[in-house]
Symmetry: C2
Subunit: 304 residues, 2 copies
């Protein structure tokens, strides 16, 4: 079982090329799949990466540009043909919902599952929560309204020390509270400090997806404290003017965001198709933020 | 320059697989590209086959199922980003035009070329004509309204016999009429038969695209006289019941159509993804119609 794995399905920009597909990623969080963006060809990329359609329940759209959305009708149709049950919730801006619903109703008739559209505010905010995870939208700064998404594991229970549990003969009914950090009070009133009964919980992993956006310190502030940051790096330094004009970032700017946010690692992506490869993106980012890797179709990154 | 070339971009059925893409073909007729159907991923298939976006001016849609249409918004967006000028005409059923126009307007803002939607009647009829070619829609018999398309070269001028033209000292002003079959009348009134002055014109090639459809004799009648017939062969004989239930054909049925129509060659395609390969399709079709080939992504067929 993947604990918290990022799957890169597509990391190209507006025009798909023979090297890079349009944007899409799938977060495999304890075997539940959550997709971010769904460019044309995403369903095929899912097959290539052997990601099970049946486990996909949420799709988060960053913004309403075709290269982040146009794979949606085909994917939802295929889910229907594959006998998907339950529901898929598409989180997107309100202004896109009517059109997307019309398209899905037209091309994906009588699916055996519910297709739910949940509006996302341009200002961001909490968009999803379960017992173990939250997903929060944060504003990005592109030519059109755009949000990033932060996936945060919730605080996890502390690990019980088996020998101590035995030694103090702690009843099963108390174990949950102790795992959550409570001390134990013996029958005679003695208080056993939680630190004697448990060891610290595993660290909580977090992931931020920031695409598309120009460089902005507010993005760095919003992702401060996040472990792994994906930040678009459409261009290299030589094309910084183009980046600014088009509401995109350079690799160096992505690195500055990761540095300012105190991230542990940075993943670059959303490359312009005008480069033969992304070697220069990597060099320029690493000068500022050494722990940088390049996204690529088929790449998986486990957050550990 | 291709004279009349069929390019197979995708020949899978409803669900794209790692073996076959959804439906799309491009007819390269004297360097003008005309597309038939545009499933998801078609723009990428065009790149793979090095078909120039700038030369694409007409797209003919067989029916409004996603696997034949959903690549359209992405393709039209990319044409805009590539600086396409002039126009692209999408020929499709009236009931799809409003939705497709809405999608294109939403995702493909301010293209530098005109996107024209031309309604196609469910009953078929002439949908395109220029000095050298006609495109005619013919009804097919699927679960929903569906048409095939016949591409027919117009009759071509006969070849002048240079030595005879010299011998009879024919003025240039008369050559066009002679190429079109007229006799030549000398100044003294002698009539020189056209057959002495010209040799026969090249044969007129024709191509019929028949997908999606169940087996129907009316299809065979409609494509009678066509040189090369593409006919869907979603299933093999063992799945004939499924074929009928779903409005599709078996490979044998496709072969019967080609035989009844007196075609020269048959191309099979639109394969169900339930088979590991299409060997059996080919065997079963060839028993009925020997000159059968299998469509495959990347295949080109020159009509000569």
């Amino acid at each position: 079982m993947a604990r918290f794995r990022i799957n890169i399905l597509g990391c190209g920009s507006a025009t798909p090329s023979l090297r890079h597909q349009p944007s899409s990623q799938v977060i495999d969080f304890r075997d539940n799949l959550m997709m971010i963006d769904c460019g044309e060809g995403t369903q095929l990329a899912m097959r290539r990466m052997r990601l099970k359609f049946s486990r996909l329940n949420h799709i988060f759209i960053s913004h309403l540009h075709g290269d982040h959305v146009l794979g949606l009708p085909g994917l939802l149709s295929t889910l229907a043909l594959q006998g998907k049950t339950g529901s898929v919730t598409v989180h997107t801006f309100p202004e896109g919902i009517e059109l997307l619903r019309d398209v899905v109703n037209f091309f994906c008739r009588e699916p055996g599952y519910d297709i739910i559209f949940e509006p996302v505010s341009h200002e961001g905010g909490l968009v999803y929560e379960d017992h173990a995870l939250t997903v929060t939208a944060i504003p990005l700064y592109h030519r059109v309204p755009c949000v990033g998404y932060i996936f945060r594991e919730k605080e996890k229970p502390r690990h019980l020390k088996g020998d101590m549990v035995k030694y103090f003969d702690i009843p099963v009914s108390k174990l949950h509270d102790i795992k959550m950090g409570q001390d134990f009070v013996c029958r005679d009133g003695t208080v056993i400090a939680n630190s004697r009964l448990t060891s610290p919980s595993d660290p909580c992993m977090s992931y931020a997806y920031c695409s598309d956006t120009q460089y902005d310190e507010r993005v760095a502030r919003a992702v401060t404290g996040v472990d792994t940051v994906f930040h678009e790096a459409t261009y290299i330094d030589a094309d910084a003017v183009k980046a600014r004009e088009r509401g995109h970032s350079t690799a160096s700017e992505a690195a500055r965001v990761a540095l300012q946010a105190g991230a542990r690692q940075l993943i670059l992506g959303h490359y312009s198709k005008s480069y033969e490869n992304e070697d220069m993106h990597l060099v320029q980012a690493k000068e500022i933020f050494p722990n940088t890797i390049l996204a690529n179709e088929g790449l998986t990154v486990d957050l550990l």
